[in-house]
């Protein structure tokens, strides 16, 4: 069995929507990786956001996908807290949250900053704008993650057994081809940066299979219309200037050193965790759902006993069934016939 992993949740979604797994040659598997921002966020972070939302004069602003994710108990979610009267606002961009804060200076606005390198520059741009405009009632609960340490943690796990990676095109737009060279160079693993159209994914899978067959691991970029060798210099400069690497807890992968971004220097004043005295644990509580194994490619969604039975998009037990980038939601919504 050749086990290929698509790291990115958007790939997972595109693969499910086009039904590509049905068309794979026998003996080839595509597994989801730790690239869905909501899915890798540990339940303790959801609890922390819920507790923030319960504070008076504080509004939590979040992307829609975070609303339904349960925390350490199924009753703890931002959507349920909102229905109980907490101030939770769905936003499409951190800039929306910043605008709300500017219009309503008597209220604190905390943006739940989830996402990978793709989302980091936009979140940081909002913090920078807050500093320039001197908006002090805005802050970001930093849940931004780096993909490379997660992939390294995954590869350190002997159970993962991955033969090649379909690398995330959107992340690569920011960090460039160079961000994925470590895969062939240090791990001797095939790696192909791919776009998101079915034809992009097909072409990339074909190249991965060629590399596996010919034992020719290398980094190939099939998404050259968007991804350059060096990435986006403006975005990278912003990340370099405003952040420092930080350790963070991941669902499924545990605590990983250097896998997150902390706001640096004077920008730390906009860090909600510092501002409101929140610290996340280094260990995650055990959960009934097996999302942690799904995002490490150890099981497929259907391998979870709850999948499609007690866990559905209407009543999700874990984040993978919630997010449109989640492996279980994609597998359930776009189930094959």
């Amino acid at each position: 069995m050749i086990r290929l992993m698509e790291i990115c949740g958007t790939h997972t979604h595109a693969i499910a929507r086009a039904g590509l797994k049905q068309l794979l040659p026998e003996g080839v598997k595509l597994l989801s990786g730790p690239g869905c921002p909501v899915c890798v966020t540990p339940p303790e972070a959801i609890d922390a956001l819920v507790s923030l939302a319960r504070r008076p004069h504080l509004t939590v602003c979040t992307y829609g996908d975070m609303l339904r994710v349960p925390g350490t108990s199924p009753e703890l979610s931002l959507l349920k807290e909102k229905a109980r009267g907490a101030r939770v606002e769905m936003v499409f961009s951190p800039m929306d949250a910043l605008s709300m804060a500017e219009r309503d200076p008597g209220q604190e606005y905390v943006f739940a900053g989830v996402g990978f390198e793709t989302t980091a520059p936009g979140t940081l741009a909002a913090v920078k704008a807050a500093r320039v405009k001197n908006v002090s009632n805005f802050s970001v609960f930093m849940l931004l993650r780096r993909i490379e340490p997660a992939v390294r943690a995954l590869l350190a796990d002997s159970e993962s057994r991955i033969d090649g990676f379909l690398c995330p095109g959107h992340v690569a737009v920011i960090i460039g081809e160079k961000g994925f060279r470590f895969l062939p160079e240090e791990y001797r693993l095939p790696a192909v940066i791919s776009g998101f159209e079915p034809a992009d994914i097909w072409l990339s899978v074909k190249e991965l299979l060629r590399q596996v067959r010919e034992k020719d691991p290398r980094l190939v970029n099939t998404y050259t219309r968007a991804v350059s060798p060096e990435g986006n210099p403006l975005a990278l400069a912003l990340m370099e200037e405003m952040t420092r690497p930080d350790g963070a807890l991941w669902r499924g992968l545990g605590y990983i050193e250097g896998s997150a971004y902390a706001l640096n220097g004077e920008y730390a004043a906009w860090d909600a965790a510092i501002k409101f005295g929140i610290s996340l644990p280094r260990q995650t509580a055990p959960t009934a759902c097996r999302c942690g194994e799904v995002i490490c490619g150890k099981i497929e969604p259907a391998g979870c006993p709850f999948f499609g039975k007690v866990c559905t998009p209407e009543a999700p037990l874990g984040p993978c069934m919630v997010s449109s980038e989640g492996s279980c939601a994609a597998a359930w919504t776009y189930r094959s016939f």
Binding site: C8, G9, T10, H13, A16, R17, A18, G19, L20, Q22, L23, G35, C36, P37, V38, Y63, G64, D65, L67, R68, E75, L79, K80, K82, A83, R84, M90, F92, S93, M95, D96, V114, G115, F116, T118, T119, P168, H170, V171, F196, P198, T312, P313, E314, S323, S324, E325, W332, T333, Y334, R335, S336, F337
Partner: protein
């Protein structure tokens, strides 16, 4: 049901369905209400069609229309989908304190324009003004009464082999509203498809008993309507993805934002199920109207896989179309 009503209960998907089935039908269920059609057909010397809808769209003005036009067209469409020729409307306004009179004037003018074009009358109504913060600017409720012209429109009338048609490209209204609410996300040349479908429906009534079912895929989009129809009729659908019309701008915006046009709302599209040998005629009837010029045959009703709409992709794979679970959100990364 959850302990509290979350926003998901308003999405038009499975949660909305749970709200109706678990709270509303047990309280009021009767043979008219329980069929859960777009409108009810009422007995009498002349059979009547009765429907109502509330409109809470934000923003109130959007490319292609405003809440006034939407409130009139939405109810006209519901009456027409149930086989009625709309005659009379009610119109009730819930206005937030401080709402600009000039905006109300514009909204009522476009509602009046649709009323005039449709040849119906607003014969009753109500106005309430609520304190600031109690509603989002303006909410409108309309109800409509029509005379039944096409009896028997129902999922139960569908048979294996029937053709499934849509009157035009899907998803425009939902995407337009999303981008009107969040203009910084994306610039796109999109407008709502908001339109009165009663004239097109009336043309289709000419097919007589060969017209089996009409439905307008509003919240939840095409996928949710087909999933619900398959379940209620205990029949399957076979659909060809490449024949489902979607405007290039809608398709591209959906790809960029991580949304699916088949779950996005429409306000000027209908789904028609007709006998197979009348498919071409039905298409020709739809294409007489500007809002039907891109009408398409998208699939057939089948006896296999009852309860399940199956979509065949251009790649040779297939998947189920399932009902929307909750609101669709753009992806994060």
């Amino acid at each position: 049901m959850d302990e509290y009503i979350t926003l998901d209960y308003g999405s038009g998907g499975r949660k909305t369905s749970a709200l109706i089935r678990e709270l509303i039908l047990p309280a009021f269920g009767n043979s008219f209400l329980s069929s859960l059609g777009d409108g009810a057909v009422l007995p009498g010397a002349e059979q009547l069609v009765f429907s109502t809808d509330s409109f809470v769209v934000s923003p109130l003005f959007f490319p292609g229309g405003n809440i006034g036009k939407l409130a009139v067209c939405g109810t006209l469409n519901d009456v027409a989908m149930a086989g009625g020729e709309p005659k009379y409307l009610s119109l009730s306004l819930v206005i937030e304190e401080g709402f600009p009179t000039e905006d109300l004037r514009k909204i009522l003018a476009s509602a009046a324009e649709e009323v005039k074009k449709a040849g119906v009358s607003v014969v009753t109504g109500d106005t309430k003004v609520v304190e600031k913060g109690s509603c989002d600017g303006l909410f409108i409720n309309t109800a409509g009464i029509g005379v039944l012209k096409q009896p028997g429109l129902s999922p139960a009338a569908m048979k294996a082999g029937d053709a499934v048609l849509v009157s035009g490209p899907l998803g425009n209204h939902g995407l337009t509203i999303l981008l009107a609410r969040h203009p910084q996300m994306l610039e796109a040349d999109l407008s709502s498809d908001c339109a009165d479908l009663a004239p097109m429906a009336a043309a289709l009534y000419g097919l007589g008993a060969d017209l089996k079912m009409l439905r307008d895929p509003t919240r939840g989009g095409l996928a949710t309507v087909l999933a619900e129809l398959a379940e209620s009729a205990d029949l399957g659908f076979e659909l060809a993805e490449k024949s489902i019309p979607v405007d290039p701008a809608v398709r591209t915006a959906c790809e960029l934002l991580g949304l699916d046009p088949l779950y996005s709302a429409n306000e000027g599209k209908l789904i028609a199920v007709v006998s197979a040998n009348k498919a071409e005629e039905a298409l020709a009837l739809m294409k007489q109207f500007p809002e039907g010029r891109n009408a398409a045959l998208i699939g057939t009703v089948c006896a296999e896989h009852p309860g399940l709409p199956v979509l065949r992709t251009p790649w040779g794979s297939s998947r189920l179309l399932t009902a929307l679970a909750g609101a669709q959100f753009p992806r994060i990364c």
